[in-house]
C-alpha cells in the first residue's frame, strides 16, 4: 500500500464563504446551476446513479438530484469542512435520502467497478495531478454505456507556465495540477473512453471573470468582506487580476469534457 501524505484542508471556512458570496450558495466554482446544465447538455440524469468528484460544499450534487432528477448522487471530496457543509445542506433541502456525501483520501475511488451511470465533476480534477490514473479509475467505476461529463481548469500547453501564469498560480496558492486539453484527451482515450469531446470555455469565462472582478472591486466588496474578511477579498482581487491576464491570452482555458464508456 502506498501512503499518501496527509491532506491539509485548503478550502477553509473563510475561503468557502468568500467563494460562495461570489458564486452562490453551495458553489465553489463559477456559472451556477446554468453552467452545470450546460455541462450536462444532452445527458438525461433521470433515475441515474451519479458520482460527483470534488463535490465541495454540495450545491452541484444537490442540484443534480433536485433539478436534473438524478436517482442517487454520491458527492466525494478530500476535505472535511466542505463535506460537512454539503451534508447539512442535503438535510436542509430534504434531499438526504438521495444525496450522500463522503470524505475520501486522495487516490483510487473507493467504489466497486461499474457503480455509476454518470461521473460528474466541476472544476475539481485540477487538484488531481495524475490525469491518466484519474480517468482510468473513472472508467472503472462507470457502468458500460456510462458517461463522464465534467468541466475543469486547464492550461493551453504542456510546457512550463509563462511568468504571468506562474504568478497567477502563486496567487491562488491552492495545490493545482493543471494539464492541457491534449493531455486530458489522451488520458481519456487511453482509459478506454469513446466519443471523447472537449469544448473550450475560455471565451465564456473571460467575460464572467471580468464581471466578477468589477463586482469584487465595487458592489460586492462589502458583502464578500463581511462573509470572509477584507484581507481575503483584497487578496482575491489580486488573484482575479492575475487570472484575467492569463484568461485573456488564452493560456488559462477552462474546458468541458465528455466521454462514453462503450456498452459491452
Amino acid at each position: 500500500m502506498t501512503e499518501s501524505p496527509a491532506h491539509e484542508d485548503e478550502y477553509t471556512d473563510e475561503l468557502i464563504e468568500f467563494l460562495e458570496s461570489l458564486w452562490g450558495w453551495g458553489f465553489l466554482s463559477p456559472g451556477g446551476p446554468e453552467e452545470v446544465a450546460r455541462v450536462l447538455e444532452g445527458i438525461d440524469l433521470s433515475g441515474k446513479r451519479v458520482l460527483d468528484i470534488g463535490c465541495g460544499s454540495g450545491g452541484i450534487a444537490l442540484s443534480l438530484a433536485r433539478d436534473h432528477g438524478a436517482g442517487a448522487v454520491v458527492g466525494i471530496d478530500v476535505e472535511g469542512p466542505v463535506v460537512r457543509k454539503a451534508k447539512a445542506r442535503a438535510a436542509e433541502l430534504g434531499l438526504a435520502a438521495r444525496v450522500d456525501f463522503q470524505q475520501v483520501a486522495p487516490g483510487p475511488l473507493p467504489f466497486e467497478a461499474e457503480s455509476f451511470d454518470i461521473v460528474f465533476s466541476k472544476d475539481s480534477m485540477i487538484h488531481i495531478p495524475d490525469k491518466e490514473d484519474l480517468f482510468a479509475d473513472i472508467f472503472r467505476v462507470l457502468k458500460p454505456g456510462g458517461r463522464i461529463a465534467a468541466s475543469d481548469w486547464m492550461i493551453a500547453h504542456d510546457d512550463a507556465p509563462s511568468p504571468a501564469m506562474k504568478h497567477y498560480l502563486e496567487m491562488e496558492g491552492l495545490s493545482f495540477g493543471m494539464a492541457s486539453p491534449d493531455r486530458y484527451r489522451r488520458a481519456m482515450k487511453s482509459a478506454g473512453f469513446h466519443n471523447v469531446h472537449l469544448v473550450n470555455r475560455n471565451a465564456w469565462y473571460v467575460g464572467i471573470a471580468r464581471e466578477e472582478l468589477a463586482q469584487l472591486k465595487g458592489p460586492l466588496y462589502e458583502k464578500a468582506a463581511a462573509a470572509s474578511s477584507p484581507a481575503t477579498v483584497d487578496h482575491n482581487i489580486g488573484t482575479w487580476t492575475a487570472m484575467l491576464s492569463v484568461l485573456e491570452t488564452g493560456e488559462h482555458c477552462p474546458h468541458h469534457l465528455h466521454g462514453l464508456k462503450p456498452a459491452g
Partner: protein, 63 residues
C-alpha cells in the same frame, strides 16, 4: 426515519469498498462504522458522512 442525520443509504454500501484493499465493507449501525475485515480497519461515519480515510480509521483485530 428515526435519525435523519445518522443512517446512511444502504444502496451506497453495495458500491463502497475499502480504500486500502478495495474489498467489501460491513456496516456496523450501532457503532456507526464501516468495517474492512481484510484491512483490519473500521472507518467512522460521523454525522452520516463516511470518512474513508485510513488515517482516521480505528484498527481492529482480525478475527
Amino acid at each position: 426515519m428515526a435519525d435523519p442525520a445518522g443512517d446512511i443509504d444502504p444502496k451506497l454500501l453495495e458500491f463502497l469498498v475499502c480504500p486500502v484493499t478495495h474489498g467489501p465493507l460491513d456496516y456496523d449501525a450501532e457503532r456507526q462504522e464501516l468495517i474492512s475485515r481484510q484491512a483490519g480497519l473500521a472507518y467512522p461515519i460521523r454525522d452520516g458522512i463516511p470518512i474513508m480515510l485510513p488515517d482516521e480509521a480505528r484498527e481492529i483485530k482480525a478475527d
